[in-house]
């Protein structure tokens, strides 16, 4: 296997993504966990760039590390911000053994699933103008799912408004 620039970049990004994930599980403070998660999100966006899906990468940064992690940070800072993890629960030897088995099985399944996977040859022109390609696909082949998604979003909006309205009324009643 030749070492290309892409390979080095992939190694670096994958390493950061995995370290971010491990830190997310192992860090003690909640805010630190979210920051570790941000690094994972960013390096996944980097991997999308390597796969020449620039639009997806940018949207990943915009939505995950831009919006979602900030909402999480806000939520943590405004609520139980001094919460710390109480360390590992003890668990018996059996539990650890089962955990190890589970990890092994997961690894084996993925190894078998991925090692000989063949997607066929990828179309060569994917990286050219991919926002335009995505737009054309979205509005010609997948119009109905797309519109249904917008209905779902609308429902979520209305739900959020209804929830916050209820709170206000209850508080007014209390006073």
């Amino acid at each position: 296997m030749t070492v290309s620039g892409e390979f080095i970049a992939f190694l670096a990004l994958a390493l950061v993504a995995i370290i971010g994930g491990v830190l997310l599980l192992n860090l003690k403070k909640v805010v630190h966990m979210v920051v570790a998660l941000v690094f994972t999100f960013l390096s996944i966006a980097g991997i999308y760039v390597l796969l020449s899906a620039e639009f997806l990468a940018v949207v990943q940064i915009l939505v995950y590390s831009g919006a979602i992690s900030i909402i999480m940070l806000f939520g943590i800072m405004l609520t139980k911000h001094n919460d710390e993890d109480e360390g590992d629960s003890k668990g018996g030897g059996w539990r650890k053994a089962f955990l190890f088995l589970g990890v092994l099985a997961f690894g084996a399944v993925f190894y078998i699933g991925i090692y000989n996977l063949d997607f066929g040859s990828a179309p060569a022109a994917l990286h050219e103008n991919n926002p335009e390609q995505i737009g054309i696909e979205l509005y010609s082949k997948y119009v109905i799912p797309f519109e249904l998604m917008s209905v779902l979003l609308l429902v979520a909006f209305v739900g959020a408004i209804v929830l916050s309205r209820n709170d206000e009324k209850e508080e007014a009643d209390k006073e």
Binding site: V3, S4, G5, I8, K29, V31, H32, V35, V38, L42, E54, F55, V58, V59, I61, L62, S65, G66, A67, S69, I70, L73, F74, M77, E128, N129, N130, P131, E132
Partner: protein
């Protein structure tokens, strides 16, 4: 040139070239920031009937900022005892790095551009969003209520004003049919600058950009007299300098983006003036836009936080949406583009 390098096989030489180019560019930007600060102080002085810095480095105080930076660099590195130490250290880095990354996609002239992305505009918006996390981390790690308040204000403001910013940019994307900043500039070669076609979008974009930069009518996230400088109250020395640097680099990037989107990038205003090279035109336009930013700082009062949020959501966003609608109608009915 960059394209060829990107496709060649990796080697230490290749890495060295990229590293050297990035380093050179970093120093260009540092030079810009040095003189942008001096220019800001000079313009403010001029508007307020003062002289401004005039002692160090000749009559115009040309070395004043250099001396200030040196002072910041040799200052004692203070980390408050009650702060969240690792986050306190990493926050300025996270706030500054995206500011520099963002500049890579901006085309200064036809040949001087580091990354020709086909999602250029969106890339700018997305990457600049990472700075918000740095700000919020700094505010949090300081363990100081003024910092936390300032950080919360800054975050809320950045998140709200990003939306009208994108929506105003969409009008231009509609007209050109591309998010590539090069294509946007080239489209203006035929049709004239987009400020003529998209005046409403320009006003919305400019206001939202001012808010994104924490420039004066919107600087209440770091209002000195109510929040003791907001999210960087506890920072001093070179860590504080990194926040300031990020702010000024964003000013550089945002002014360049405004020029690319609305003022035709490196293109001359009239065809017969095209014997003057593009870099000169870009520089001239850049000087004008940054001057307007200083001018606003000297002449506008600060807004109230509740007004700020209402302004973004109830005025700028509907105006930007109406502009998109109108642009789509014009494009379809009149077939200008």
């Amino acid at each position: 040139m960059v394209q060829d390098l990107l496709h060649s096989s990796p080697s230490l030489l290749n890495f060295g070239i990229f590293f050297a180019m990035a380093l050179a560019f970093l120093f260009v930007i540092l030079g810009f920031v040095t003189y942008a600060i001096l220019a800001e102080r000079k313009v403010l002085g001029f508007m307020q009937g003062r002289i401004g810095p005039n002692h160090l480095g000749g009559r115009w105080g040309l070395l004043q900022t250099v001396a200030d930076v040196l002072k910041l660099l040799v200052k004692e590195d203070l980390i408050p005892k009650a702060s969240d130490r690792p986050m306190f250290i990493i926050a300025p880095v996270i706030a500054f790095a995206p500011a520099f990354v963002v500049v890579a996609t901006i085309p200064f002239t036809e040949n001087l551009q580091f990354a020709d992305l086909n999602v250029g505009l969106l890339y700018y918006i997305a990457i600049s969003g990472i700075t918000i996390i740095g700000t919020l981390m700094a505010a949090w790690a300081s363990n100081n209520k003024y910092s936390l308040l300032g950080g919360m204000r800054a975050t809320a403001q950045m998140v709200s004003y990003e939306i009208p910013l994108v929506m105003a940019g969409l009008g231009i994307v509609l007209l050109t049919g591309s998010m590539n900043l090069n294509d946007i500039v080239l489209a203006q070669q035929e049709s004239g600058w987009f400020i003529l076609w998209q005046p409403v979008a320009f006003v919305v974009f400019f206001i939202a950009a001012m808010a994104e930069l924490y420039r004066v009518p919107f600087d209440l996230a770091e209002a000195e007299n109510e929040l003791v400088a907001g999210f960087h109250t506890e920072y001093s020395g070179f860590r504080w300098a990194m926040f300031m640097l990020a702010e000024y680099v964003y000013m550089f990037a945002m002014s360049a983006l405004i020029i690319v989107l609305f003022f035709g990038g490196w293109l001359p205003p009239f065809e017969f003036l095209s014997f003057i090279p593009g870099a000169v035109w870009f520089g001239l336009k850049f000087a004008v836009v940054t001057y307007v930013l200083y001018w606003f700082r000297a002449t506008f009062p600060r807004m109230r936080p509740d007004q700020l949020m209402e302004f973004a959501w109830k005025i700028l966003l509907p105006v930007a949406l109406a502009n998109i609608f109108l642009t789509a109608l014009l494009k379809e009915l009149l077939n200008i583009f």
